[in-house]
Amino acid sequence: MMRIQINICTTFNPNYNEMNQKLFEQLQQEGLISDASFANIKIKQEHSLLSVHWEIKTFLYLGVLLLSGGFGILVYKNIDTIGHQMILLFIALICGGCFFYCFKNKQAFSIGKVLATNSLFDYILLLACCTFVIFIGYLQFQYEVFGNRYGLASLFPMVVLFFSAYYFDHLGVLSMAIVNLAGWLGITVTPISVLTANDFNNSRIIFTGLALGVLLITMAWATRKRKIKQHFELTYANFGTHILLISCLAAMFHFDAIYLLWFLLLAALVVYFYSKAMADKSFYFILITTLYAYIGISYIVFQLLDKMVGIDITILYLWFLYFIISGIGLIVFLMRTNKKIKAI
């Protein structure tokens, strides 16, 4: 019984993931680290701290999500008994309270990066922005404050979102603002539903997507050039690159009479994004531009094969061979690029 208990105690010993003292002892004996460093490590280990930063963040995220969702359903179900004015007042109170807190506790504005006091601040701002959007939507739905000018009804929250993102320095609110901007123009750009919620067979959507992509890429460029909130660049560039390249591919498939022209545009964009990614050493952008380019090239190859061979069993062989050969080629390309970036 005694033995089992001892075993349980040692197996529950927690500090394995941190610095391995045995290893540093060996390194010290080999003379690779000095006695002072070893003593440092030993002290650090004895006083190691466990960060619960992301746990608290998750609490806040889930809390705000559940609360706004729960309130939404509550309001929807009880609309007959509470009355519209009361509900509007309630939403306005939450929104106003949260904004009040944010204005009171904000750091001084700067065009550089401003670190929030803590993650609580970030999520209260998020709650404020969410409730503001709901408030405007409710107002328009029930009282048609903006009349038939629906554009205005979504423009207004968008402006507030962009303002809050810049004024309080919040990436999440900036993403919401970009999603809102896209929605104002009529397309969905959230990562999960960008492909499913948009009808890319509609030439209108394609051109809007292209315009939005260009706008966002320009914003990314200006953000860096003018040094205004430079850390926002990545968010703009991420949305912009995806929407631009997806729209370009969609244009290629849709206007199939002149698909080679669209392919030229795609190629030009890919070259631009690729060289930019190389300069920034961004593996992420290299991967996505490579994959978008691969889809475009494959489409061209398929079109050519179709014209040359026609529908036959040989075309299957050629397709399969194309995927194997191009796959190997792309692997070599990615590995070389990886090496090149690491060498810079």
Partner: protein
């Protein structure tokens, strides 16, 4: 036993540890660089995104090579197809060994894809030809995954092996008859506890860093499995199926109180132990299972409407976070609210912002809906709004 060079993995481990020490400002730069030269890396392990790209492409190549094989042999019968799958699986395993041995691939995407593809094809082929029952299927999966775990130290494979082992216990006890079946929850709990303690023991051996990642994931899986074994919802619904109890909606199972107690107590114990010993993993598992308590209770006792629970839960979570933020303004009892590992901080905040933008509704639905449902948008480019 392991395909990758153990010294090379050890070198990686030393480098990681040294980087950690450097990051915590316990090590001067000069000593860090001395360690780097003393422990070189020979592996080819590219950046995460390149790894994802290589993984996708390797899967594409494997799939279409198989397709060419099917075309060439004009595979007519399903059995022949299954045989071909086994053949390709062996080919992929050989390619994997070659890439690891000669090209020094280590978590490069290529080796991940080849391993998963080979293991999947091997299982699919054998299982299709022999048409075994559930128990034999689980044993087969367990054997393939265990081999892959030992040979390639793959996290996912070790997890699959664990799940398959649970499957083996489950189906074996059903086969053994009612007397064993009755104790199924305790059997599951016993086996998961055993796995947990064995793996924790293994971790204390000196060369544990070879299987570092597997040894991290299995304890988490077994803690979850232990809870699942005793959870009221799982026990009740499974026994209802297995024993044909035909329980009425409100009826309980024999010893229902015991499983209710386990459902409520285990997460609290995990969380308590985690806090007491400052073990981040146990804290997270405990918190996750707290949510499982809420769902289990709510499933059988619909006391309040779901939206009330959501709102209350939201308030409780925000208040807890508020309290913790206040409490941990300066570090207390070894806990802190400061974010470590600032190298990932930029990426983390980007991912966070993407999650926020896709889960929070930033566009009032009715505004957008009215606008684009109407004639405004279908006008084929004639309106001057853009």
């Amino acid at each position: 036993m392991i395909a990758y060079s153990p010294t090379a993995i050890h070198n990686l481990f030393v480098r990681e540890q040294a980087a950690e020490a450097l990051g915590q400002q316990c090590l001067p730069q000069a000593e860090y660089e001395a360690i780097l030269t003393r422990f070189p890396v020979i592996f080819y392990s590219p950046n995460l995104f390149i790894r994802i790209g290589l993984l996708i492409l390797t899967l594409v190549i494997s799939l279409f090579s198989f397709g060419i094989g099917v075309l060439l042999f004009k595979a007519s019968s399903d059995t022949f197809l299954a045989g071909l799958a086994i053949f390709f699986a062996l080919l992929a395993f050989a390619a994997l060994e070659y890439m690891v041995k000669n090209n020094k691939h280590f978590r490069s995407g290529v080796d991940d894809a080849l391993l998963w593809g080979a293991a999947g094809a091997l299982f699919g082929g054998i299982s299709y030809i022999t048409k075994p029952d559930d128990l034999s299927n689980c044993i087969l999966i367990f054997m393939i995954a265990l081999y892959s775990t030992f040979r390639f130290a793959d996290r996912l494979m070790s997890f699959v092996a664990f799940i398959a082992l649970m499957g083996v216990v489950f189906f074996a006890s059903i086969k053994l008859g009612d007397s064993v079946k009755t104790f199924l929850p305790f059997l599951i709990m016993g086996v998961t506890a055993l796995v947990y303690f064995v793996v924790k023991r293994l971790k204390s051996f000196t060369d544990n860093h070879l299987y570092q990642q597997c040894l991290k994931i299995i304890p988490i899986a077994s803690m979850m499995g232990f809870y699942a074994g005793g959870n009221y919802f799982i026990v009740r619904e499974f026994s209802n199926e297995l024993f044909n109890l035909h329980l009425a909606a409100g009826a309980s199972i024999p010893f229902g109180w015991l499983f209710w107690a386990l459902t409520l107590i285990i997460p609290v114990i995990y969380l308590g132990r985690g806090i007491q010993q400052r073990n981040g993993v146990e804290i997270r598992v405990g918190l996750l299972l707290m949510a499982a308590i809420v769902f289990t209770v709510r499933y059988y006792h619909a006391i309040l409407a779901i939206e009330v629970w959501m709102s209350l839960g939201g308030v409780v979570l925000i208040l807890t976070a508020f309290g913790l933020t206040r409490y941990l303004k300066s570090p207390k009892h070894g806990f802190t609210n400061i974010e470590f590992g600032s190298a990932d901080a930029v990426a983390n905040s980007q991912i966070e912002s993407l999650i926020i933008s896709s889960t929070f509704n930033s566009q009032p639905a009715n505004i957008g809906g009215t606008k684009f449902g109407g004639g405004d948008f279908g006008g084929g480019g004639s309106s001057g709004e853009f």
